[in-house]
Amino acid sequence: MDFFFDALIVGSGLAGLRAALEIPADYKVGLISKVFPTRSHSGAAQGGIGAALGNEEPDSWEWHMYDTVKGGDYLTDQDAAETLASDAPRAVYELEHMGVPFNRTAEGKIAQRAFGGHTRDFGEGPVKRACYAADRTGRVVLDTLYGKALEKKVHIFSEYYMLDLIFSQRKAVGAVVYELATGNVHAVWSKTILIATGGYGRVFKTNSNCFTNTGDGVYFCFRNGIPLEDMEFVQFHPTGIYPLGVLLSEAARGEGGVLINGLGTRFMPEYAPTLQDLAPRDVVSRAISTEIRAGRGINGGDYVHLDLTHLGASRIEEKLSDISSFARIYLGIDSTSQPIPVTPTCHYMMGGIPTDLNGRVVGLDGSVITGLYAAGESACVSVHGANRLGTNSLLDLVVFGRRAGKAISEDSKGLESPQPIEGSAVDVVEKIRRIKNSKGKKAAGIRAGMQQAMTDTCSVFRNKEDMEKGLDEIRRIKGDYQSVSIDNKGDKFNTDLLEAMELESLLGLAEVILVSALNRTESRGAHYREDYPERDDQNWLKHSLATSSPDGPAISFKPVKITRFEPKARKF
């Protein structure tokens, strides 16, 4: 069956929903999602959304912009950081107007708390900038935008999977879509398509991501010749519950929690004398991994402790109740009286589909791809540079999701409805048939091999030798994938099949991450090379672009936009 839209939005997290809300009601909008919208991974964001409201203490958006640029180790495009930080107060007030139940100050304003890397006076000390609703900020923002989408009667197709993008003469014109309930394959034609499919932390073994975060939209762009930007920059969040990887928000440290090593010592002051436990995530993750490598994990093991016991039960209950319940449910730990074992967990992808400030996807030659847009974690504006600050992802979603929605509204007016192209779904249908008939290895085993290889060779610490091994391994595993097989040959709710299809995206992106990381022979932000431990602005103050070629991802570069802040040594 063929569907026709003015705008097709792929992904129902905050970026997709916010864009949908921006598109006028007389446009035909279709929003497809692998899951019911409130199941989207934006809902797992805990700590807050950054905006210089100054409700708790003086703040300015220029400080927020500076922190975003410095936090990103100067790889951040400064025009994007300026847009993000200067638009942040408006974006947060808008969320409040839509109904987000923020915590409040005594005067009834939106409450704010400290978060990693957010400072006053250009780095002088921590500032309370994170607007929050307890430690479930992402979830209540997601619920709120979903409610608004209902009110607006946005047409949502839940449990529909995009399996390919369709291009015609360098224009994006449609997508091949799989309906989970029936197994039917549909062609969807649209004047404009927004990729808002989120991240792909599932390429790593230990991660904080949901199972649906497999990077399909990003990979389909890559497969169709669109470059991917800064893919070597993978954020490892310092405090994943050991050994599950489930996220414990930075808000725990924003509220005063501290990290303790196996000697019972607070170690962050050694690594970041000013911000200490509230240094940016790359700094804290490296510090934890360094302590563990030096044998100073708890009992010499591969984790440290996050200690909240001095905060008091009422503060934990009021502001950190979800994370204290995670500790209780998964570890049987009462966080008011016992420290929580934590270790870095793959959390966020700074890289992605290159876009301009309005979500328009930019090709290798620097020109816009007609009809194609990206926003959120799947996109690279680049507003996070080499390391994203906490609270800037929710902000990115609503600021740039809205801008993409505006651009789509404007551009759709001048575009013709695409003509259906006969046979567009043939490749997908053939691939499904092949997988169902194959007798090769099962998807789960192949996926586990990939996750282990990525975690072993391309995590917090990286070097040439390990990553070359990793790349060989991923390429060998891609060979296995050619004959991937499944048990379930049926049509209804065949999640076995979908997991096998998603694995192609994960494997493709794992290779892009490794090639990009091998290529960058310096250390910057989240990308730390043991064999090149220094930042090298002379040679590497530039974005990487990885483009598909017959020999694997090919690397080229584009300049970083520097407006207000010249690169300086990064001290916290």
């Binding site: 991974h41 007030y93 409040e96 009834g108 409610g147 209902l150 449910i329 209804k492």
Partner: protein, 242 residues
């Protein structure tokens, strides 16, 4: 340790009737029931279907009946199952589509019915002010993840499919007690019907199973009291819970 999961299986397009199948697997006591399901699906039987996403009790996808009780498979640990045999079944009160996947359409329609969004007038330039006391009147209702455990566990909802059900009532509570909302009275009126709040008979099953520990029954009773306060004591005769 060895555990056996006894799992409800049903593909209505193939099977004449549902059946149960046992899967004996190795599992650690600290692992989640969801980890066990994944092990079965990934290593033993890929034909098993269930929903999952975040795997830590935030998204609400993997609600099912575990040893007779509605719960999230990602929040239930093997060591908490208190038996070597773990019985896994789909949520009751809904139509089974395949194995552990049920049709939640009627559930979401009831959530939509209560208008789960803020209705307020023109906003000021900055945020609307709301005192911490007013903010706290919404209580734990903002924790609801729409997993449907409460509705599936509710004896009334299992008998009466026109009952609005606990989760939509929690969603309504959230807006009624949000001081910013201007349609409080209309919202209360909408619930002031036989199959609204008054169908609740205080079985407390919703409260017992809620994976986010929301005091669901208490909030329904608070709403009943608010209806009586706003519309007068004549409403009491509609209350069959007395």
């Amino acid at each position: 340790m060895k555990v056996t999961l006894r799992i409800y299986r049903f593909d209505p397009s193939v099977d004449e009737a549902p059946y149960y199948r046992n899967y004996a697997i190795e599992a650690e006591p600290h692992e989640r029931v969801l980890d066990c399901l994944n092990r079965i699906k990934w290593e033993h039987d890929g034909t098993l279907s269930y929903r999952m996403s975040c795997a830590h009790g935030v998204c609400g996808s993997d609600a099912m009946k575990i040893n007779g009780r509605c719960a999230l498979a990602c929040q239930k640990l093997v060591r908490d199952c208190e038996a070597d045999l773990i019985l896994v079944e789909p949520l009751p009160a809904f139509t089974v589509l395949k194995d552990l996947i049920v049709d939640l359409t009627p559930f979401f329609e009831k959530v939509d019915f209560i208008r789960p969004y803020l209705i307020a007038g023109e906003p000021p330039e900055k945020e609307r002010l709301q005192s911490p006391e007013d903010r706290n009147k919404m209580g734990e209702s903002i924790r609801c993840i729409l997993c449907a455990c409460c509705t599936a566990a509710c004896p009334v909802a299992n008998e009466n499919e026109t009952f609005l059900g606990p989760a939509p009532l929690v969603q309504a509570f959230r807006r009624i007690f949000d001081s910013r909302d201007i349609e409080r009275v209309e919202r209360l009126q909408q619930l002031n019907v036989e199959n609204g709040v008054w169908a609740c008979l205080n079985h407390y099953e919703c409260t017992r199973v809620c994976p986010k520990e929301i005091p669901v029954t208490k909030y329904i009773n608070t709403t009943k009291r608010e209806i009586k306060r706003v519309f007068g004591p004549t409403q009491e005769k509609k209350d069959t819970s007395a």
